[in-house]
Symmetry: C2
C-alpha cells in the first residue's frame, strides 16, 4: 500500500548527513548524536522505504543506486529545513519591546548575566529590566512579566513551571576559617558566627529540622540584601548558606561539611497568562527555563 509514505523525517536528516560525510560515525559527530543511533536510524529508514540505501562493505559504506536517486530530494528537504531555521532566526531577532524580570538580588547579580547574554544574542532589540528584589512582586498587577521565585505561587491565574531543584551549602571564607577553626560537624556550627539574609528568626527555624541548632546570638551581622550579606561572608565576617552554583564559583570561599546533605530549595519560573500571546515574553521565558534547568 502507501506503506512507504510514513517514515521518520529525522531519519532523512540522518541519511543526508551520512551521505554527505561518507560514514555513520562522521554523521553522528555532525548531528551531535552517537554512531549506534545513526546506524539504527538508517536501518529503520531502509526498512520503512523498502529500499537499501547503503551497502555495508567492510568498514566503509557505499551508496546504492537507490540512495543516489533519493539523495537529490533529500538535499531539497535539508535546504528547506535550513531556510526554516534562518527565517525563524530572523523572526526572533526582530522581536522588540520590554520584558521585566524579577528575581532575588543574588540571582540577579550572579546567575542571570550568563542567561541575559544569550537573550541579547538571540533578540538584540529586546529591552530587559531586571527588578532585583527579595520581596515578592505581584505579577497580576504587572509589576513584572516574569518572576523567578523559590515558592510556588498561590494565584491560579499564573503560569508556573518548576525549573530546578537547587542545592545550597554552608560557606565561609578561608580567612574566617583560619581564625575561627574549621567546623567538623553540624554541632560545631553552633559555636560560629553567621551572616543573616533578611530575618534571622526565619533562618533559625529553617535550619532547625536540618539538625543545625542556632540562636540569635549566632547572628551578629546581616543585611536584607543578599549581595551585601554575601560580601560580608567573603570578607570573613562569618558563615552563610548559599546555592552551590554561586558559592562554588566564588574565589576565597569554601564549602563547609561537604559530606553533609545539601539544603534543597525549588526554583519556580512564573508569569502571567500573557505568555500565551506575547512573543517576547514567551521567548524570554523559554530561554530562562532552558538555562535554569541546566
Amino acid at each position: 500500500m502507501d506503506n512507504a509514505r510514513k517514515f521518520d523525517w529525522n531519519h532523512i536528516r540522518a541519511f543526508l548527513a551520512t551521505a554527505e560525510t561518507g560514514s555513520l560515525s562522521a554523521a553522528a559527530r555532525r548531528l551531535d548524536q552517537t554512531q549506534p543511533t545513526l546506524s539504527r536510524q538508517i536501518a529503520a529508514l531502509e526498512s520503512d522505504l523498502g529500499v537499501m540505501l547503503f551497502e555495508r562493505v567492510g568498514r566503509s559504506l557505499q551508496m546504492t543506486g537507490a540512495g543516489v536517486e533519493l539523495l537529490e530530494h533529500t538535499r531539497a528537504m535539508g535546504s528547506a529545513a535550513d531556510r526554516i531555521a534562518l527565517a525563524a532566526s530572523g523572526q526572533v531577532q526582530s522581536i522588540e519591546g520590554q520584558v521585566r524580570i524579577t528575581a532575588s538580588d543574588i540571582m540577579s547579580a550572579y546567575v542571570l548575566p550568563d542567561i541575559l547574554r544569550d537573550i541579547r544574542a538571540q533578540a538584540p532589540r529586546l529591552q530587559i529590566d531586571v527588578i532585583a528584589a527579595n520581596d515578592i512582586r505581584d505579577l497580576l498587577r504587572r509589576e513584572a512579566d516574569i518572576a523567578i521565585r523559590h515558592v510556588r505561587p498561590d494565584q491560579p491565574d499564573l503560569i508556573a513551571k518548576l525549573v530546578q531543584d537547587a542545592t545550597a551549602h554552608f560557606y565561609a571564607s578561608t580567612a574566617y576559617l583560619q581564625s575561627n577553626g574549621y567546623p567538623k560537624s553540624k554541632g560545631d556550627l553552633s559555636r560560629h558566627a553567621f551572616i543573616s539574609f533578611g530575618d534571622p528568626d526565619r533562618m533559625i527555624e529553617h535550619f532547625e529540622p536540618l539538625g543545625v541548632h542556632l540562636t540569635r546570638d549566632n547572628f551578629r551581622l546581616g543585611s536584607q540584601s543578599g549581595i551585601v550579606a554575601w560580601e560580608y561572608v567573603k570578607q570573613g565576617f562569618g558563615i552563610a548558606p548559599m546555592s552551590h552554583e554561586v558559592g562554588d564559583s566564588t574565589p576565597g570561599v569554601v564549602r563547609l561539611l561537604p559530606e553533609t546533605d545539601a539544603i534543597r530549595f525549588p526554583v519556580w519560573l512564573t508569569t502571567h497568562r500573557e505568555l500565551h500571546t506575547s512573543r517576547r515574553i514567551r521567548l524570554v521565558f523559554d530561554l530562562l527555563a532552558k538555562h535554569l534547568s541546566k
Copy 2:
C-alpha cells in the same frame, strides 16, 4: 547562538499538518498520532525556534505572522518528503528477481497469503517461491532464501530474528463435540481422539509437561501434512492443537478449554548473510517481519 538551527524535523511535519488542517486534533488524526503528542510537538518547535507559531484563542488556533512566514518553507520541506516517498516507492516497484521462502505447510497455506498480497503490491515484478515443507531446509546450501521456523537456527552464519511468541490451543469441530462431548478439563482430553501432525510420539512428550497425558491410543489418525491433518479436524475426526491465528478463523471449529494456559511457541525468521546486500531479500524479509510481528 545558532540555537534555532537544531530542531526536530518531525515537529515540522506536525506544524505543517496543523497549519493545513487548522487544529491539533485534526492534524493528529491525519498523522495517526494523538492530540497531546501534537500539542507537545508544536510547543517544542516554538520553543526551539524561539517563535510563536499559533495563538491559542479558545477552541481554534490562529497562526501568527511568524507562522505564515515559515509555512512556505515548511511546504517545500513536505513536498520534498513526498518526492522521497514517491521515488522510494518507484525503486521498490522496480525490484525484480526470485525469492524463495520456506515455511510449514500450515503457515504457507493459512498465514502467508495476506503477507504475499502486500509483497505483490509493493514489488509486482518479484517472483516468490513458497517451499511448503515441515522438515527444515538448509539455507546455507541455498535451498531457500528465507525460512520461517519455530526453533532458533544453530548455524552462526545465519541471521535470525525472533518475530513472534505465538500461542496455540486445542481445537475440535462442533460436529465432533456434539458426538463425543465437551472436555471440561485437561484430564478429560485423555478420553478423546486426537489427530497427529507428524510423529505422534513427539506430540505425546510435548504435551506431557503441560499436564495433558496422552498415549498412542489417542492417535488413531494423522498425517505428516499439517493441512491434511487440520482437514481431518474440520471433518470431525478428532482434536488437534493449532495456532489461535488459524484456529480462531476457521468456521465450524471451536477452541477447547479456553481458560487453560495457551501453548507457546516461538516464530523465527531466518536468512543467509546475503540479506545485507540483496535488495529483494531485504524487502521480503522486512515485510515478513512486519506482518508476523503483528
